[in-house]
């Protein structure tokens, strides 16, 4: 039988995990914007920070997973919680990979597309932010999950629209094809972060129904 303390410790761990992923979203947003502004110092700092956050999130999710099995906690929702943690962890993984790609490939983004890239990043970060609120609600108040899921859908849709418009603008322009394809690839990368948030939201929609007694 688990002691009350271990239950409390795990509650704190799950909260910390969600904080970490949420913060990862914000760091990602700041990192992309620093890149767009050409602020190398801030961009490098963002990469270092998201790297740390991603490692931390990995460690916590593994700890929680082990504890859930060790103490056979929440037998009915264990699979759901593990799936939720895994997919939420994918968000920060994707964000980190995306920032690294900026660092490695150093895409040349013409100034005319900066505003659209910034908007796309904002929408993706907002989707991450909203899905973290939903994930937190799943543990405390399943009804609140439903009340917030629409926000995730909204920001993901917005990211899709911005990305679509951006790609059309890129391909309508006079850049050479290799450059266009490179920019499209980065638009997709940024958009992918919101897609990962959407994946978590889709799972939460089902989990929260099971969670309602």
């Amino acid at each position: 039988m688990p002691l009350f303390k271990s239950s409390r410790v795990m509650e704190a761990q799950i909260d910390e995990f969600l904080d970490t992923v949420g913060e990862g979203g914000l760091v990602y947003q700041a990192g992309v914007k620093s890149y767009l502004q050409g602020d190398v110092t801030d961009f490098e700092a963002a990469i270092a920070k998201i790297d740390k956050l991603e490692n931390r999130a990995d460690k916590i999710s593994k700890d929680v997973e082990a504890n859930l099995y060790r103490h056979s906690l929440i037998p009915e929702h264990r699979g759901d919680v593990l799936g939720l943690l895994e997919h939420t962890d994918n968000i920060i993984d994707t964000a980190k990979t995306s920032l690294y790609q900026f660092s490695v490939e150093q895409p040349e983004i013409p100034a005319e597309f900066h505003a659209e890239f910034a908007k796309l990043t904002d929408a993706s970060a907002a989707a991450v932010d909203a899905v973290i609120v939903c994930a937190r609600a799943f543990f405390r108040d399943a009804d609140l999950v439903k009340d917030n899921l629409y926000k995730v859908h909204h920001f993901e849709k917005e990211a899709d629209l911005i990305s679509d418009a951006l790609k059309r603008a890129v391909f309508a322009g006079s850049l050479d094809l290799a450059h266009k394809i490179h920019l499209r690839y980065f638009a997709l990368n940024v958009e992918k972060v919101s897609d990962k948030a959407q994946e978590v939201a889709d799972r939460l929609a089902i989990y929260s129904i099971k969670r309602t007694i």
Partner: protein
């Protein structure tokens, strides 16, 4: 001594089958939802059953248990064996059934074999338990569930904290349930062996006094515990997930509804408390743990609109119907074999005769008929009842009184034949013991004459009024008196 130990074996078998079947009522949903591991549940259940049996089970009101009406040791052995076999069969079929109904069924089989009378209320009780108990428990589960749901919506506990609370709730409810399982059922398992108890009082570590009855009940408790460990997992799986898939919170609601139903509708203590404070009391209805838990599961599932596996539910219902019937038939057949093949005395014949003293006592109790004088002696209750019914115009209730008073036995108050600690173990007061001392050496042919002599000797033997407290006192006195009849019976 060897004979007693041999006869004790069927009581232990009955205890084992009770443990195998009834542990599911208290821990089935917890184990079925994987909230508590089977080993943890079995350990807690076993410890609490043994504690309940040893500490609270020795209450004098039901020390003799249901089998007390069986008046020969070989008969008790056979009736317990029939009941245990029935319960075992139902457990093999993974069906939660009422152990006490299998005992009552087996006793009815003995009644038929020995030409004794079956109290019609025991049949009514069985049928009422099948219907009323699941309905009450189902309704209780729905009410509790609504309350819990509102409470959870308001308090919004973290999933892990809810898990923690539910788990401990299930464990505590299971522990209390197991304690009362031991306390309430041990008398049915071991009570009939109390007058022939092979144990003697012990003092452990120089300060812990363990009475002979407690040792006997401890042994019975261990038998129940072994049943829990070795064979209860099957029925637990039926209760915990066979009828319907249960989640942890509803699992707790079901166990709570089951315990609350037993407490509200079967607790004389509560009735006395409520009546004592001028509050309305709950009607006392016959309830059974197995029927209550199945009723709670079905009630809650219907309310939540969850698919019930009607095939399993149908099997359980058939199991309920079959239990007393099978126990009765099996008991009759086994008694026949014990009697005719093994030449064991499975019942002591009870003759009936009306003499002047009986007719006077009947008149005193307001029972009179011009043909009472003409009634001839008979060898057993059934023949006597037929005769009284044919020759008089008495009501069924009055006929029962005639039979009760005309029954002939042989009792001798012999205080030296028993260990003085036995009186305290039975919960007798100083006044009651003194009354027995006054009557020491006297013999009685009628049990009611002994009872009247005791009432005359001490106010502590006099019955209480018709209120709840009086009823409780009378039940205690009846329990003590039936134990005395066993101890002073010279035909044994």
């Amino acid at each position: 001594m060897v004979e007693i130990l041999f006869f004790l074996s069927s009581g232990l078998f009955l205890g084992w089958s009770l443990g195998a079947n009834d542990a599911a009522n208290v821990f089935g949903t917890a184990v079925g939802t994987r909230m508590i591991r089977f080993r943890t549940a079995a350990t807690v259940c076993s410890v609490c059953v043994i504690l309940g049996a040893t500490i609270s089970g020795a209450g004098a009101a039901h020390t003799l248990g249901k089998l007390g009406s069986v008046n020969a040791l070989a008969g008790s052995f056979t009736v317990a064996l029939a009941s245990a076999l029935t319960t075992f069969l139902m457990t093999r079929l993974k069906l939660p059934v009422s152990t006490s109904q299998s005992i009552v069924g087996a006793i009815i089989g003995w009644n038929f074999y020995s030409a004794s009378l079956t109290d019609s209320s025991s049949l009514t009780k069985i049928v009422t338990t099948w219907v009323a108990c699941p309905l009450l428990s189902g309704a209780m589960a729905v009410v509790l569930f609504i309350l819990v749901r509102v409470a959870l919506r308001v308090s919004k506990p973290h999933l892990l904290r809810l898990d923690f609370g539910t788990r401990w709730g299930l464990l505590l409810m299971g522990a209390f349930g197991s304690y009362s399982l031991g306390a309430n059922n041990i008398a049915n398992v071991m009570g009939v062996f109390v007058p022939d108890n092979p144990f003697h009082d012990l003092t452990l570590f120089g300060w812990l006094r363990v009475t002979a009855v407690q040792q006997l009940f401890f042994l019975g408790g261990v038998a129940i515990a072994v049943g829990v460990f070795t064979y209860s997992e099957r029925v637990m799986k039926t209760v915990g997930g066979g009828i319907v898939k249960i989640s942890p919170v509803p699992a707790l609601v079901i166990v709570a509804a089951h315990s609350l139903t037993l407490f509200l509708f079967a607790s004389e203590g509560l009735e006395i408390f409520l009546a004592g404070h001028g509050l309305p009391t709950f009607p006392l209805v016959p309830v059974s743990s197995s029927q209550a838990v199945v009723g709670a599961i079905v009630g809650l599932s219907l309310f939540k609109g969850i698919g019930i596996r009607y095939k399993v539910l149908g099997e359980i219902s058939l199991g309920w119907l079959a239990t007393p019937l099978l126990a009765g038939v099996l008991s009759f057949l086994l008694l026949f074999f014990m009697d005719n093949v093994f030449a064991q005395k499975v019942f002591a014949p009870v003759p009936y005769r009306l003499d002047r003293a009986v007719i006077e006592e009947l008149a005193r109790r307001g029972v009179s008929d011009p043909h009472l004088d003409e009634l001839a002696p008979r060898d057993n209750a059934r023949d006597m009842q037929r005769q009284v019914a044919a020759m008089t115009r008495l009501s069924p209730e009055d006929i029962r009184t005639v039979l009760e008073l005309s029954e002939i036995g042989s009792w001798r108050v012999d205080m030296r034949a028993h260990d003085p600690s036995a009186w305290h173990d039975m919960g007798l007061t100083q006044g009651q013991i003194e009354a027995l001392e006054v009557l020491d050496g006297r013999s009685f042919e009628r049990s009611w004459q002994l009872r009247r002599a005791l009432e005359a000797a001490s106010p502590d033997w006099r019955p209480g009024d018709d209120g709840p407290a009086g009823r409780k006192r009378n039940k205690l006195l009846d329990g003590q008196f039936s134990l005395l009849l066993r101890m002073f019976d010279t035909r044994r």
